[in-house]
Point group: C2
Chain length 360, copies 2
């Protein structure tokens, strides 16, 4: 497992807190806590002080794990972890907290614990830091994508994607293969959608059998070192009909346009539009029912969102998906998705499986 | 997949809302939404009206899935699902919402959407309903426990738990076996803890090798039809030393005492005490560092919590774990855990793997 630069990340958050006039920050989102400390347990929080030392809190189940994973931050062990950290923060002037994560009940608890300290929304400051990946994170994503590429290549080579098999069986085999190749887990519940099910953007695999002449849509990924890959490929079993070739070519062109639009400084809505316009021009606007893509990292969906409703511009080091789709209810659908890194030049493509229409 | 009685569950919540003087309830916790509607996607919410019809909300990705899974509730499709449902609730007098789930930012959004409607905490009303399982839920839990039992039996029979193998390899094999036996997923990240790692209550499997004479602690479960099983067994590879036999016998006695205390009307703190007292009497109070157990169902941890800090009494139909442990840092630890159903008579044991010290 890579040793990530947690101290560096905390330093960046500290600088940002100081800029905003905060004296300390209480980070309670578990993924953000992992990002800032390396802790992977199910209960942990971080009190980060602009001046003075930080405190990492967890409960007795994780005392040993915290010692190993977070050796460089003072440890506080308390069953009521967040409350204990809040009491430790009592007396600071302004305390940033994650108002998008803390529940209404949770805020009531914080207010009781911090006394006269002013609680100020941190907004999604840690998520914003997380959107730009450092070299170690890109390497983890690269490995996660390689595992997914290889799992699919092996299944295809072994003839596992053949008529008569069920979506569930294919999904389980894909998952098992990713685990065997070193994934900690699938990135999310693997989508295997055969025939008309491929027209359902997020179909849950069931006992539907793969049939000759049908689309087979696979949307899956691997988690490696906590980082998630995300890839969709759509293929045809047996002979592809003309309508299938046409829809596929359209999505392929749209996806290429989306990838080509990934450049530093580009607004996320413009990236979405670059891809969507291709589909709209072909008269299929209403068959592309979701956003174009999303950031990936310690979570399968994270900043930046790439859609017509998104906000912000791309920066070098962002890891994003580009995944347009055209779904024809009752017939079938195609989605093609890659995970890429935004760079100062061409984006780096991490999911390397061919995007030519694979006819098995 | 079992067809659960979602309408009956909504009727119970409706009665409870009426009792509390609410006109409607907005359920946003995804697990609670699944419990009340059957919806398994990643975005959905339910507006339940005391008088008048209910509305299920989701976004365009799930239109088809919602039609299949929630055929009996009016559907509202909107990208900003919760906001749209809140607007649909504007005008009702008192609207219950889940203050333990809705974030501070989320409440701000709700307030903006509902206008003059009064927002009232629903407290954990749906979780309280969920704590008591109906027959279909018990059947799903039974199947989930059977998968875990069988996976472990197969691994043991095949000699997969032998010196030289790594914790990670054993964990992956256990996971793969559960999937092959029909699990949708492991219930949680499988714990495999060999040797001194067994003294860590929640050890994450790593490349530590299993060795003769060491404890091997396995804490794992299977998800079937959304329901989670949870079981821990600790065994010894090769010859068991006297200290291992002694610690094991102590935890075994404590666990039996905890199971024997599972009776309708018993306070959860008394169940915890029944098991804990056995360990304390042997001088190991400080080596049992966590609560005795927890409810299981659509979540791996749900109501009721069974610990010294818990509150409430047991009711027939509750599904709970009993899992005392004694952890000797630097040496090793033992935990024995079952999943059981509280009944009017003896509790029903769902995890049937032997609890005699298995020496492999």
């Amino acid at each position: 497992m890579t040793r990530h630069d947690h101290a560096g990340r905390r330093a960046r958050l500290r600088a940002l807190a100081a800029e905003r006039g905060l004296d300390a920050v209480l980070v309670t989102d578990l993924v953000n806590v992992r990002y800032l400390t390396g802790f992977t347990g199910s209960n942990g929080a971080l009190l980060l002080r602009v001046e003075g030392s930080d405190v990492f809190g967890t409960d007795g189940r994780y005392t040993t794990q915290a010692g190993t994973q977070v050796p460089d931050v003072e440890l506080l062990v308390d069953r009521a972890t967040v409350g204990a950290l809040a009491r430790a923060a009592a007396g600071v002037g302004r305390l940033g907290y994650e108002s998008h994560v803390v529940t209404v009940d949770g805020l009531r608890g914080l207010e009781g614990a911090v006394g006269s300290t002013e609680l100020v929304s941190l907004r999604q400051a840690v998520e914003a830091l997380r959107a730009v990946k450092d070299a170690d994170e890109v390497e983890a994503l690269r490995r996660a994508c390689t595992v997914a590429d290889q799992a699919l290549a092996e299944l295809a080579a072994e003839g596992a994607l053949r008529p008569g098999r069920t979506e569930l069986a294919v999904g389980r085999e894909l998952d098992a293969r990713m685990l065997a190749l070193g994934a900690e887990a699938p990135s999310f519940e693997t989508i295997v959608a055969a025939g008309t099910n491929s027209a359902i953007p997020h179909h849950r695999p069931d006992t539907t059998e793969l049939r000759a002449g049908d689309f087979l849509k696979l949307d899956f990924g691997a988690t490696v070192d906590g980082y998630h890959s995300d890839m969709t490929r759509t293929l045809v079993l047996g002979h592809a009909a003309d309508w299938q070739t046409e829809v596929y070519a359209l999505v392929q062109e749209s996806q290429a346009a989306g990838r080509a639009a990934l450049a530093v400084g580009t607004d996320v809505t413009a990236v979405d539009a670059a891809s969507r316009d291709v589909i709209a021009a072909a008269g299929h606007a209403e068959h592309f029912t979701h956003g174009l893509g999303h950031g990936v990292g310690l979570q399968i969906h994270e900043a930046p969102g790439i859609s017509a409703l998104g906000a912000g511009t791309l920066a070098a080091g962002m890891a994003v998906t580009v995944e347009p789709g055209v779904y024809l209810p009752g017939h079938g659908g195609v989605r093609i998705e890659d995970t890429l890194i935004v760079t100062d030049g061409e984006p780096e493509l991490l999911t390397l499986t061919s995007k030519e229409l694979l006819v098995l």
